[in-house]
Symmetry: C2
Amino acid sequence: MKRIALTAIAAAALLSGGMADAESPRGIMRGTGDLGIVIERAAGRVVVVETSTPSRLYTIDGLGDLSHASAVFSRDGRFAYVFGRDGGLSKLDLLRGEIAKRVVQAGNSIGGAISQDGRVVAVSNYEPGGVRLFDAADLEPLAEIAATAVDGKRSKVVGLVDAPDSKLAFALYDAGEIWTADITDPRAPRVSRHRDIGRLPYDGMITPDGRHYVAGLFGEDGAALLDLWRPEAGVRRILDGYGRGEEPLPVYKMPHLEGWASVGDLAFLPAVGRHEVLVVSMSDWREVARIPVHGQPVFVVARPDGRQVWVNFAHPRNDTVQVIDVPSRSIVATLKPGPAVLHLEFTPRGEQVWLSVRDADRIDVYDTRRLERSASIPADKPSGIFFTARAGRIGY
Amino acid sequence: MKRIALTAIAAAALLSGGMADAESPRGIMRGTGDLGIVIERAAGRVVVVETSTPSRLYTIDGLGDLSHASAVFSRDGRFAYVFGRDGGLSKLDLLRGEIAKRVVQAGNSIGGAISQDGRVVAVSNYEPGGVRLFDAADLEPLAEIAATAVDGKRSKVVGLVDAPDSKLAFALYDAGEIWTADITDPRAPRVSRHRDIGRLPYDGMITPDGRHYVAGLFGEDGAALLDLWRPEAGVRRILDGYGRGEEPLPVYKMPHLEGWASVGDLAFLPAVGRHEVLVVSMSDWREVARIPVHGQPVFVVARPDGRQVWVNFAHPRNDTVQVIDVPSRSIVATLKPGPAVLHLEFTPRGEQVWLSVRDADRIDVYDTRRLERSASIPADKPSGIFFTARAGRIGY
């Protein structure tokens, strides 16, 4: 029965995206360190991939609305937790190639995180607002953090990330607050609130060391910074010009803050509404340079060694990817992978980068040294790409 | 037949170290992201462990002389490559719990590395000197880098590490040189030599970003630094006082340079022959502070988020571990795990640290937030601890 279903999926994939590969057998004993998933948004499906060959293994279907879907991984790398826009939380068994458990936990959600110890999966919700905590093993609910603003209304929650010492950090869009939650006891999270951080925080990121949480503000220029090593110092405003420009262009897409690249003491981040990447010193959070680029940047991602930063762009310039050489802060390559490059993900040691070329129904794999395409993998309108190495990293 | 052999090993382990756990079944489908190995040096054996529970799974025997043994991992996390002092190179299948392949590749070796793409395992040798390259799949030899000094003699090779862009870096002990090798074509490595870097480099390390290679000098004070982003600038001398002290103590054990901790722009490193940890700025490679500690430090290791640095010590003070709080640069805990704490390894997100307490035949697992022991695992005279997360990191 399952075999038939899989064959049907494979056939459908073949028709829709020209995918010629036969599916790999499921349920095989193998390492999980080189696995990943690619979101096929329109089909409500993911492709399980491996980066050693590289190749696609099989698909897992039935995941609902995967617009803006993201994923985190169990600490053993076997399971992916996929957060769907429709409130669906799906635990995927990457080895068996099937859904291990799926719950629809809210009406509208926007991402999630996994706790430092891997025991708790947290989901941030728009409708109803708040954060819900689930047991990573069976997705049973553990607790809810209501994220109630001063006026008693629930707030949409954005920018949810894990932090060291069993913490979560997130921002309340409607309330203009940043909260941290200590989930050492996940049935009784202890919340710390930071009020009046600025209007309408729309996303958040945490630095790779898990120390600094930054929320971008939609309602005003600038960003809000919380030093988790010194929470008693409170939230301070940084990057006062962020989001502003002398001649602002129409903003096609708010850049993801998770798209910030951190290289040593510098952060590379997408300018809002401008064809620029900003370079900011993380010691004083001041802008130190602007690098002109091809379009409005969406994701600005550092190669794991920090030698290069790769940038993709908003519509209508999203057929292009540029590579910034970090020491010289100059563009060393302008690549044209194809129409609608939506996302990019590096292998853990950075020798490859995978790009979703949505409108070509293709994932392109680039050799980051030669700056040339080394492989192409068919996929049906691919969007997000997530590798299991995220399991071992803070803030993923 | 295999079953009997395993049972015998388990029984022997039980007798020798008081290990009460039954062995877990081998050959089970599971994720590999939470696996690791612990070296049981005296027994020529490793214990396969997992950090989620945490627990020991089973042992793999027959690995020869494991003095100073180290290990790297395949990029899928399934296989460990163990480098023995006797020149043995063993590929262990962590899922099947058995040796997949073993070769004795030299008379006396001192460590190894795996290439960025995971395809090549490199071993650095004392006797005969040089570096040998092997196919990671089957351990077939690919090439040899003879490491011949100007006088035509072969040099012992130390401090071998992988580096981005398909490179290796290592130091020639006898010749006083640092070499890099581009192993894009592993059958024809292309070597770059840096001469006259100082007398008797005894070990080397690479910064976590893979940019700076540092070799410690045994024959004189100081260290040698190569910036791999600017190799044409050559090697320069740093830390002129390193290894020197106004009132030097007898050096019980040369500290491992792999024991340097990198936290943001700072490196924390063991003073040689002194009861101090040095703090060095990595922007100008100058010493900025000294932290008095309990004994002569051996390993100085940062928690992955950089908030803490853990230190163990040389004989006779090796029953103690101290924890440095990075922001205040002060000791926040002095722990006494037991006699002969030889090594320590953090889980990838840093919530646990594992300590080998050799003379208590025990691995202790500490909760890094509470600074308390959370678990103990029996092991027979444990030394090195290596987790599969190293597969995704540069320089491991």
